[in-house]
């Protein structure tokens, strides 16, 4: 939570502040380290678990009595589901195979979206995916899935052969194969996980920076007190901006997952 983060920030800042001018120290990655009590559990894990609970309960409730003529709740649920089902899965994978990947992609999208928005939702104020363990877990799931279906569809040899596009001159094929191999097995998972983590991490850092700076200015003299107003304003702008980025990152993660699955399923390049 932000307050915890702030206290953590101020506790690290306080010793410097006691030293006089330049006492403010910007928030460090330590603000993401939030163990609950003395256990191995972190706040992110708690909120992640709560997000799964919320999503499960709400989505089951809204889709339980799904009918031909939708209720208002079902209609909203369908709109949310169709964003992942039609807007991502069907468009990327194609109408033949998309349906068996729709649950996975929809799970990814809803889980990432809610946890990202936790970063600006008042009781939480902490994006779960700002801790790299979570993006890595999701990325590994996607990684295993798209390689698994690729091997299943093309066979081990066929899958590797499938990575190199047809119609290339013979001498360039080994080089392209190496590049594609790196893309499939290193670049894609790495970027997928880091993109989500980096955006959440940096966004949260920025908001904490502005809020803690504004709070610090309030402890100083009048000029700084005035300066705290645009600082808090900037924090508010960042929150709005983050809302967009958080949605976008959830969308991009799901979209790229669908794209990788589609690439592994494709008959040719």
């Amino acid at each position: 939570m932000i307050l915890t983060a702030l206290t953590a920030g101020t506790t690290t800042a306080v010793p410097g502040a006691e030293g006089g001018e330049g006492g403010f120290s910007p928030p460090t990655p330590d603000i993401f380290w939030l163990p609950v009590g003395g256990t191995f559990i972190t706040e992110q894990m708690v909120w992640g678990g709560i997000s799964v609970l919320i999503l499960s309960v709400v989505m089951v409730a809204l889709s339980k009595n799904a009918a031909v003529v939708p209720s208002k709740g079902q209609w909203m649920m369908e709109g949310f589901y169709n964003l992942a089902r039609n807007g991502i899965a069907r468009d990327m994978i194609g109408s033949k195979d998309f349906l068996r990947f729709a649950p996975l992609l929809f799970s990814l999208f809803s889980l990432i979206l809610l946890n990202n928005w936790f970063g600006i939702l008042p009781p939480v104020m902490n994006p779960t995916f700002g801790k790299i363990g979570f993006p890595i877990a999701l990325t590994l799931v996607v990684y295993v899935v798209y390689h698994w279906i690729g091997f299943k569809k093309h066979g081990v040899k066929g899958y590797f052969a499938h990575m190199v596009p047809d119609g290339l001159p013979g001498w360039i094929r080994p080089a392209i194969f190496v590049l594609e191999l790196i893309t499939y097995f290193v670049t894609r998972p790495l970027t997928l996980a880091l993109r989500l983590f980096g955006n959440m991490f940096a966004g949260h850092m920025l908001i904490v920076l502005f809020v803690s700076a504004g709070a610090y200015f309030l402890t100083q003299d009048v000029l700084f007190k005035l300066l705290s107003v645009p600082t808090f304003l900037m924090a508010a702008v960042m929150v709005v901006f983050e809302a967009l980025v958080q949605f976008l990152q959830a969308y991009v993660f799901t979209l790229l997952s669908a794209s990788y699955i589609a690439g592994a399923l494709a008959d040719d390049h």
């Binding site: 972190t42 997000s51 989505m59 089951v60 649950p103 809803s110 790299i132 363990g133 979570f134």
Partner: protein, 223 residues
């Protein structure tokens, strides 16, 4: 080797006071990430998506079913229209056939009636002519006997004697009539005989009447 050392030191660091390096995953969080997506995927794939997909399928079926029903109704209407038109056509043909038949029948009736009338007229004409012939014969016969009687009576009165002998009498009359028919008897001769035998006027009258009867009889036969 060095890497594993670093990794183990990082993990031990993470376990003790949390990772200072944000790019090193905190292992409980990594594991819990799998748990989160696993549970959510189970719920979504077992409870949420099937329900929604079922609703989509039902909706699609309902829409297509409605369209099918509309098409069916249209086809039925089309079939009814065709049937109606066929019936109308049939009825028209039938009416024409009946009209033709009636016309033919009427013509045949007229022809038949004409034939019948013709036959009737012929029959009537024939029977009338036969009757006339019969009556003429009858008249001829009765006239012949009457003339015979009258002429005998007349002759007997003139001669003054009754020709009592039947055979002789008959023979005389027949011979006279035969002579009359064959034309051997000349009126002059008869009139001369008559003038000799009887007053001229009466003899002339008798002769005239016989000749008249003859012409009359021929005329009647001709008619």
């Amino acid at each position: 080797m060095q890497f594993t050392d670093t990794a183990s030191s990082v993990v031990s660091l993470a376990a003790s006071e949390g990772p200072k390096m944000p790019l090193i995953p905190y292992i409980p969080e990594l594991i819990f990430g799998f748990v989160m997506i696993g549970i959510l995927y189970l719920v979504v794939s077992k409870k949420v998506v099937p329900n929604l997909e079922k609703a989509y399928e039902e909706r699609r079926a309902a829409i297509e079913g409605g369209m099918e029903q509309a098409e069916e109704a249209q086809a039925q209407a089309q079939a009814a229209l065709q049937q109606y038109e066929a019936q109308l056509h049939e009825a028209r043909t039938e009416a024409n056939a009946i009209r033709e038949e009636a016309r033919a029948e009427g013509a045949s009736i007229v022809a038949e009636m004409r034939d019948k009338a013709q036959a009737e007229a012929n029959r009537i004409t024939e029977s009338a002519s036969r009757q006339i012939e019969a009556e003429r014969q009858q008249a001829l016969v009765s006239l012949r006997s009457e003339v015979g009687t009258m002429s005998t009576t007349l002759a007997s009165r003139i001669v003054g004697e009754s020709l009592e002998d039947e055979v002789r009498q008959k023979g005389i009359i027949d011979r006279f009539l035969a002579d009359l028919e064959s034309g051997t008897v000349r009126p002059e001769k008869v009139s001369a005989e008559a003038t000799v035998a009887a007053p001229a006027s009466s003899a002339g009258a008798t002769e005239q009447g016989q000749l008249d009867l003859g012409t009359d009889g021929t005329a009647g036969r001709d008619a």
